[in-house]
Point group: C2
Chain length 490, copies 2
């Protein structure tokens, strides 16, 4: 929060939410109408701009988030790669889900010529997150997928990195303008009140959000209460349970301990995919193996609010009688954003089943809870008591019967890992970053190519002359995109 | 409402909502796990059962809805065809949206093996509609698509056709049971209170609804207020504006009048796609052509509530000074469910812009409103003041510049017709039956094959051994379904 101000912009002269949304709404028809190739180039121009300014942006981000240069450089590269992947998605064209049903007089009743595709939903509001100042912020995945879908976007900056947000927004405006995009295609608003106003603005047609359950739920409620309700794509909190079978616990104790130690402390434990509870056999020595691998140090959390939330939740969890300390000193609370850690706690399946609201709930920060179990049936019972999660992870050995567990994990989460750790979230076609509530407020992903579906709505054209059809639906398929024609993929 | 009772079931012995939902939730794992081929056969067994019992069911439906044997026979055939189409969708397999991303060590960062597909969302609540006792009822499109997606279903019967609902449910139970489906896969509950309870039941994971704006909005609010909110796929009200250009009005006056007369009176004007307002050139003689084509008669509306709603809305619209009567006697209100009609009203663009809440809102029943315009720009202005609609229809002649109008119509609705009339809703791949609120509460369709997407959620499997993957994602693609592999459709 002490960085030199590269672009101070007194709020008195900043555009209001209404002004930004009006600009977005005015630009929407031109943005929708631009050729797909041009839309792809806008995305690439944003990617290029980020990469070209990495040397300035990474230190700016570090000064505001304490996440470190290495992690932030990687995150910036991920963010520009994400923009380029969405440019590819736009060119590839299957995101339009184009369907052509030719007239069929032989059907009973006869079927008219009917052609369906997805079109932009309209101006989209995007809420930046605190913990990913590039990948889930001004030019992050929500913005990239909303722009790729053909929408204008108004981003609500996160208070945790205001300077970075303003600077990225300035660079984006310049890049988009050079690339010929309409003015108003991408706006930035700031301040807590701006958030609610943005969701309530009648011309905003959908919202993407990454943040806490409490904040997200309150905005979801605002979106649902509107005279015209809109979809609110919130990614809220996640526990990310891990199960280590007896086989894996004995065959790969050190390996599992090593991986877990790295995963739950990544980004100071401030990943939405952090493994929050780890089910381990009661008789395993995973706890001591883990204790031996966590190196005590100070963690700088993202901001005061997150640090104080961490302390509160930690006190709540350690206040449960059946919770013991495996590593760290949860009593030492640190000062300001600094917290000593990491912390490993342990308890039993009985205890989590008795107090699921305290023990099976996210603690955002560098802590994980080992839950000792006697049988895998008891683990399934505990999973059934857990809230919806972004991920679940199973460490098992060949030959163990884990089908029942995997069924439970599929019910509970949007991504099921066999081995490995959930903190890495690949940006790819098959990614699913979303899960049953409260992990998400929708049946969609916020990472990966299919995230684009959130910001599109279907329109069918009936007996429309070819010349009046949008290009993706014209008979000759001038864009050469994948389509379904008379029921067959072509 | 005076039909002989084929299956009287005193409510005291009917299963409660809780019991039906519990049975559905218990059956869900077995239903999800059943092979797709088996799921397709369940749908076909339902279709066969409907067809085999048409002679009994059609009169039963007519006694409760007054919709007439011809229309109801067609609707039953449409409903069984819809079930068979969804069986085909299940076998074809692209509804699973299977995506395989192989491990890629050359990427930065390296990408793990990641495979994604859609899985059933869980027990689904379905609200039957009054106006389609087969196609939007116990075995209608919502039920067919929810079952096809692999879900169990609890239907809330519509009060307008209780006997028919019970009989169809009985036949369905028998057919499903013979076909080997798990007990509890399809339940039926009755009563107004049962509706709210069904939406609030924690184990219900999504809801499909067709009905009024008022009723639908109140259930949408209930679904959004839940501790764990669920998607509420409501199809509420629709105005379905039609625009007749000067060219079409002069070249095809009689043709347009003929088509309109048939469309707005179909099913006694109780179609959600009924053309409610028709923009006609101020100087056209469409009004007299239409007046000459509507034959005065008594209409039997579906029930007392709909009839009294029709009378109230009609009085409201005719109470506007600038509204005139082209045909019919809106002052003659009839008795009970009988209303004299049809009624054709007329007004001006100025009037609808002055009072859009009264004049640009659905009137459910045999009436339409002609809106005289001077220029097409004024029509666009009026369309911008209209609420979201299921359909918009344009009647134009070659060479007229209608692009601006079509853009406006694409904004306003989910299906845009060029020529023809919106009351026919083809059940096909490209259909879109849904539109901006209040036409729908979601970005989905309730008719056509893509309606299945509403009842599925994505799950990704990371580095999962082939033998533990669901069949659609296994390396050899044993089901032979369409998939995207490493970014390419295969």
């Amino acid at each position: 929060m002490t960085s030199t101000s590269t672009s101070p912009r007194p709020s008195a002269t900043s555009p209001t939410v209404q002004e930004s949304v009006a600009a977005a709404a005015d630009a929407q028809p031109a943005v929708s109408a631009a050729p797909y190739e041009q839309r792809a180039r806008w995305l690439e121009s944003l990617a290029d701009e980020l990469d070209a300014n990495a040397d300035e942006l990474v230190p700016l981000a570090d000064a505001e988030t304490s996440l470190g240069g290495t992690r932030l450089s990687g995150e910036l590269a991920r963010t520009s790669a994400q923009l380029r992947l969405f440019a590819h998605v736009v060119r590839e064209g299957s995101f339009l889900e184009a369907i052509v049903d030719h007239r069929n007089d032989d059907a009973t009743p006869p079927l008219p010529d009917l052609r369906r595709m997805l079109v932009p939903v309209g101006p989209v509001g995007v809420f930046a997150a605190s913990n990913f100042p590039f990948a889930f912020s001004v030019l992050g995945g929500d913005t990239a997928s909303a722009l790729a879908a053909g929408n204008t976007v108004v981003v609500k900056a996160h208070e945790g990195h205001p300077e970075l947000s303003r600077r990225v927004s300035e660079l984006a405006q310049a890049a988009l303008s050079s690339a010929g995009a309409p003015q108003g295609i991408l706006g930035l608003v700031e301040g807590r009140d701006a958030g609610v106003t943005l969701v309530e603005e009648p011309r905003i047609m959908a919202v993407g959000f990454t943040g806490s359950v409490r904040g997200g739920r309150s905005l979801f409620d605002a979106a649902s209460r509107r005279a015209r309700p809109i979809p609110f794509y919130g990614e809220l909190g996640s526990l990310n349970p891990v199960v280590v079978t007896p086989g894996a616990a004995s065959a790969r104790t050190d390996d599992v301990a090593e991986g877990l130690a790295a995963s739950f402390t990544l980004g100071a434990g401030q990943f939405c995919t952090k493994p929050g509870v780890v089910f381990v056999p009661a008789d395993s020595r995973l706890d001591s193996a883990l204790a031996a691998r966590v190196e005590r140090r100070q963690f700088q959390l993202l901001n005061d609010r997150i640090a104080s939330g961490f302390r509160d939740r930690l006190a709540e969890v350690t206040g449960v009688a059946a919770v013991g300390v495996v590593a760290g000193e949860p009593g030492e609370v640190g000062e300001g954003t600094a917290v000593p850690g990491p912390i490993v706690l342990s308890t039993t399946v009985d205890a989590v089943l008795e107090d699921p609201e305290v023990l099976l709930d996210e603690v955002f920060g560098p802590v994980t809870l080992l839950v000792r179990y006697d049988t895998l049936d008891r683990v399934r019972e505990a999973l059934r008591a857990a809230p919806g999660s972004l991920t679940t992870t199973l460490h098992a050995e060949d030959g163990e019967d884990v089908r029942g567990l995997l069924d439970e994990m599929t019910q509970l989460s949007g991504r099921v890992l066999y081995g490995g750790w959930p903190t890495g979230v690949a940006v790819s076609w098959a990614q699913q970053h979303g899960g049953p509530y409260p992990a998400s407020t929708s049946l969609h992903t916020s990472v990966g190519t299919t995230a684009i579906r959130r910001f599109l709505r279907p329109v069918a054209y009936q007996t429309m002359p070819d010349a009046l059809l949008p290009e993706p639906l014209q008979e000759a398929n001038p864009l050469g995109i994948p389509r379904r024609v008379d029921g067959r993929l072509a």
